[in-house]
């Protein structure tokens, strides 16, 4: 079973807020990046708008294998 999240690379981020501005469901993506957290928000559509809009390549979509995660967790 595989799924995915948008994950940040905080060192590239300057907190400009473009990601939060363009999120269609209103997630404050920028706060997640500041805290180095994946966007695991239940309403996240993984539409990729924040990934594309970020001018500094901070965000990327990463496949996570839930099965492995569950097993090791």
């Amino acid at each position: 079973m595989a799924s995915g999240y948008v994950v940040p690379e905080p060192a590239r981020c300057v907190q400009c807020g473009i990601c939060s501005y363009y999120c269609p469901v209103g997630i404050d993506v920028r706060v997640h990046v500041w805290r180095n957290e994946a966007i695991t928000h239940s309403v996240c559509l993984t539409c990729g708008e924040c990934v594309v809009r970020c001018p500094r390549g901070v965000l990327r979509y990463e496949q996570t294998d839930l099965f492995i995660k569950a097993r090791s967790g």
Binding site: A11, R12, V14, Q15, G17, I18, S20, R30, V31, R56
Partner: protein
């Protein structure tokens, strides 16, 4: 414990967050002279270009700060008296500290030509500067931009986005000559020309003319241009007045050790104002990078609150957008001096120009461009423009000093697909070193 942080930029904010991970009770006072407090200063470029509005510049951390019980004070610090652990504001109020952080940042180097004080002459340090530019810019307006590095280009792009006609003056023969190579400079210049920017090389500003407001500029060689706006970004200078007055040791910035401590007991420095010891190179280095300022602020905060933590300088890197091309600059990539910048520019690192002997290789496909600086056994630096697939692996490989011996000769051989070599090798290396 009483903490005072001077400076509302990211270094100061990161320090306060770090202090509160250790000391939840100590009194924290944050003092700054920016009327808007903390906001994303790099984000000003996107405010200028119209991608975000000014509200967006302010991250929603106000609630968290309320939890931190920070006493925020707006004002200018006039002096520090280390002997009595006191600081005095210009408005007469004073505070005592047990631990003090100077995170005073840097400001734009002033233009020194005649006419620099005319209205219509602008820089890009603060939100108020950006607002001033937006007020002046617009269709039918002509602007002259002077300077180099990232900020000058951000101003050029902002002005174009607002419909102004832009003349960009370069003192030398190409853009950002001590970081970019010739191909990269020309890539940027050609894209600017496509957007209608007129680039004037070997153009040294002599004077700005006008009555009250800018009307024209004149160059040293006699050329003249009519304009309504003159914008400049010729470098930044750390704000050092307070440190000087307090007797701190200063070179190009406030000297700080690995624990962000200055030579004066209980006074720390971080961010653009700090010149920090780097054990790897043996030098004290000045950076003007947002990420570095955040890291240094965090380390300063931990040490101020009593947790010994050393600042390990990571390989300096910055991501920026040059004429719409996302560009990552990692490690050592250039040499020498850029005629368009005095000292250091914003978004710049001195260590980008500490390039030892290295062989440069580059590859270009469409508008995408990768340049690698290849050392004896490791990669020393990289410039990635356009497609950013390689920038993350390269950052990790350069910072981790990954041994590239197995692919070095292939990398240096012409005709090899560098992108494929790097990504293939990185995947293999990661797998081998997992767990």
């Amino acid at each position: 414990m009483k903490y005072v942080v001077i400076g509302t930029g990211v270094a100061g904010i990161a320090a306060i967050e770090a202090i509160r991970t250790i000391d939840t009770l100590g009194a924290i006072t944050l003092i700054g002279d920016d009327p808007h407090g903390y906001y994303s200063r790099p984000g000003l470029a996107y405010y200028l270009s119209g991608e975000i509005n000014d509200k967006l510049l302010f991250p929603q951390i106000a609630d968290e700060f309320r939890k931190f019980h920070v006493n925020s004070v707006k004002g200018l610090v006039a002096r520090i008296t280390p002997a009595s652990h006191s600081i005095y504001l210009q408005n007469g109020s004073s505070f005592e500290y047990d631990r003090l952080l100077l995170a005073t940042g840097a400001h734009a180097t002033a233009l020194s030509v005649p006419g620099a004080k005319l209205s219509g002459v602008v820089k890009l340090d603060h939100l108020e500067d950006a607002r001033r530019i937006l007020k002046l810019a617009g269709r039918g307006k002509t602007a002259v931009v002077v300077g180099g590095g990232i900020t000058a280009l951000e101003i050029v792009e902002g002005l174009i986005a607002r419909g102004a006609k832009v003349h960009y003056l370069l003192r030398g023969n190409r853009y950002w000559s001590n970081v970019l190579d010739e191909d990269e400079s020309h890539l940027v210049e050609n894209r600017l020309k496509e957007e209608g920017v007129e680039i004037h090389t070997h153009a040294e500003l002599k004077e700005i003319q006008g009555r009250g407001h800018v009307q024209a500029i004149r160059l040293v060689d006699g050329r003249a241009l009519r304009c309504d706006i003159v914008a400049y970004a010729i470098g930044v200078v750390p704000r050092l007045e307070l440190a000087q007055q307090a007797g701190l040791v200063i070179e190009r910035g406030i000297l700080a050790d690995q624990f962000m401590h200055t030579n004066v007991p209980d006074i720390y420095a971080a961010g653009d104002a700090a010149q920090v010891y780097d054990p790897r190179s043996g030098h004290s280095i000045l950076d003007s990078l947002w990420g570095t300022a955040r890291d240094q602020g965090r380390i300063a905060g931990l040490n101020m609150a009593g947790k010994k933590a050393a600042y390990i300088k990571s390989v300096p890197s910055n991501v920026t957008r040059l004429t719409g091309l996302t560009t990552t600059i990692i490690g050592a990539v250039g040499k020498g001096r850029d005629e368009d910048v005095v000292g250091i520019a914003r978004g710049d690192s001195e260590s980008w120009r500490e390039l030892p002997d290295a062989l440069a290789i580059q590859t270009a496909f469409d508008i995408n461009h990768v340049r690698l600086l290849v050392g004896e056994r490791t990669l020393l630096g990289a410039v990635v423009m356009g497609d950013q697939l390689l920038s993350l692996p390269l950052e990790k490989m350069i910072a981790g000093e990954v041994d590239i011996s197995p692919i070095r000769s292939q990398l240096l051989a012409s005709g090899e697909d560098i992108a494929e070599l790097i990504s293939g090798y990185w995947l293999k290396w990661k797998k081998l070193h997992a767990s």
